[in-house]
Amino acid sequence: MKKIFEKIQVGILAGSSLVTSLTVILIIIFLFSEGIGMFHESQLEEGYVLTVNEANPVTEIDATSIKNIFDQNITNWKQLGGKDEEINLFSIDDLSDFYSDEQVGSDLEYLDTCMNDYVKNHENTLAYFPRKNLPENFHGKEIQVGSISVYNFVKGKDWLPSASPVAQLGVLPLLLGTLWVSLGAILLALPFGLACAIYMAEIAHPSVRKILKPIIELLAGIPSVVYGFFGLIVIVPLIQKLFHLDVGETALAGSIVLGIMALPTIVSIAEDAIRNVPNTMREASLAMGASQWQTIHKVVLPYAKSGILAGIVLGIGRAVGETMAVLMVTGNAANIPHSYLQPVRTIPATIAAELGEASYGGLHFKALFALGCILFLFTMILNIYVQLVLKKKRVK
């Protein structure tokens, strides 16, 4: 009896140890099942239909062409594989150009009939109106709008998820925004991080190190909103003044704040790597008459190279995934960045800013999960790489 009881307790321990692995697997399942869904979803704005006259041979139009039609770049059905006729665009937004208020009724109660007549009588029309106004015995046919392809998702230059009539979901500006901000952050954090790590591990008196270490840890513990707040009240105005800009919320502000946040990661891992270099290496070098700096430069750092690299990579991972601070200081304009003095928008900031407004289960919602997948994959790969490097080092 006692033995069974013990077995159960050990079983509980074993079960608990599987929770983290299970969570990672669940994250993958939930993120990807929602994220991949975006590639099966019509790009047309939810709750709306595109219709044409029954005689029109065109049955499907892709999202880019629809945007071009609404922008007047495509004006002839021939360009879409139809007859040589001009496209007569009927959009619900321009309703007053076609029907008077009396004709459609004050609550649009006659819109159904109007649409039916209009589409029936105009062979060259392309009508865009709410699905709820689709008449019951409709004398036209619905146009199928294709879903976005992976290629267009990755290469698309516009992120306009609530654009009408078709959502533009190009991830390129967000991807570049994330890379710019993170790269800037690492370039700023790297010299300071390395200097700090070398100083703490090799140069500083143990008592100085005892003070520095908790300070670095504290820097890691400060919440990201507080960094964002600090960036907003100190760094953003400073950049605005220094560079005479209209707005201080720029990629540079993001890089500086992220740089400070990535510092502790770089310092602590690089310091560990340097301290793990066996003392015999140092002693051998010093015995040869090398100075302390020569020993650090030629012996210690090369030996600790892979560990230091791991710290840098992990710092990049931290910077790429950081949400709130970046959201608060980068200005969040979804443009392809050209300079560090422009507002940019990163992937995590986009998710945080837009998930609240995206309707549950819609295209926009799924697209944000797809962004989450990108983020997850990226940090996962960096993480696994770092652990392999650190492990190899330990085995040695």
Binding site: E6, T20, E217, G221, S291, L314, G321, T323, M380
Partner: protein, 284 residues
């Protein structure tokens, strides 16, 4: 002084100055937030609800909300984390399974918090129909801090000398009994540091609670675990970016930031004190 020594002096001083600059940055952040934040702190600020469009009044509901989330996430993460740490260190032998679990735990630690938010929303809020609630937020935050607790538990168990275990076995105690009565009591102070650090992390975490529990404004306190709550970090975010009157609510924002930094500072100091005390006691 010869050239070699001179170069070394220059380089070492460069490193020293750069390290000092890092320290200055930290103190600049603390200074800005403490100086103006401390002025906003008063008894009313800590015990009253926000008033007049969050320009006046206090942050009481946000403090209570954050407390709920700390307790909620730890109820879940503490036992699982400690059990998991015990199993990894005491039972599992070095091998493929152990390194797989450790790899996954470290991966989970590296997942960005916004991804936790997405996951928590998809699983707890939508699939399990908890809605935006303390329950959903606590579970999400619990998973987020789980790796911290596992790691500190593992490390503190590792630091218990094997002679204690062997002595217990020699007395005829079983393995489980030894862990319960000998190993855990010795390691416990260090296990606590993991929990304290988790408290700091949970109270500052924003992205993970955006879509799982956090409320923009709620004047009343929650009644059940299926209610939404306000939380300190989200409140600070709201005050600085989307409040009704951002300029006028600055003092409240400073005050909120101060409370957050204060929590992190205190948890860090306590964790360090325990660690130092523990290390002295058992490693001497």
């Amino acid at each position: 002084m010869n050239k070699k020594a001179l170069t070394q002096q220059i380089i070492f001083w460069t490193f020293r100055i750069m390290s000092i600059m890092v320290v200055i940055v930290l103190f600049a952040i603390l200074y800005f937030i403490t100086i103006r934040g401390a002025q906003a702190i008063s008894w009313d600020f800590l015990t009253k609800s926000p008033e007049e469009g969050m320009v006046k009044g206090g942050i009481f509901p946000a403090i209570i909300g954050t407390l709920y989330l700390i307790v909620g996430s730890l109820i879940f993460a503490f036992p699982i984390g400690v059990f998991s740490g015990i199993y990894l260190n005491e039972y599992l032998k070095d091998g493929k399974l152990k390194s797989f679990i450790q790899l996954m735990t470290n991966n989970l630690a590296g997942v960005p918090s916004i991804v936790f938010g997405l996951f928590g929303m998809a699983l707890f809020v939508n699939r399990l129909h908890f809605g935006d609630s303390i329950l959903a937020g606590s579970l999400t935050l619990g998973l987020l801090v789980l790796p911290i607790i596992i790691r500190t538990t593992e490390e503190s168990l590792k630091s218990v000398d094997d002679s204690y275990r062997l002595a217990s076995y020699a007395m005829g105690a079983t393995k489980l009994y030894t862990i319960k009565k000998v190993v855990l009591p010795l390691a416990f102070p260090n296990v606590i540091t993991g929990i304290i650090l988790s408290i700091g992390r949970v109270s500052g975490e924003t992205a993970a609670i955006l879509f799982t529990v956090a409320a923009y404004f709620l004047p009343k306190l929650p009644h059940s675990i299926f209610d939404q709550v306000m939380a300190l970090p989200y409140h600070l975010y709201v005050l600085t970016t989307s409040g009704t009157n951002i300029e006028a609510s600055r003092p409240v924002a400073y005050g909120t930031a101060f409370v957050l930094v204060f929590i992190v500072l205190v948890t860090n100091v306590i964790a360090n004190l325990i660690r130092n005390y523990f290390n002295k006691k058992y490693k001497a």
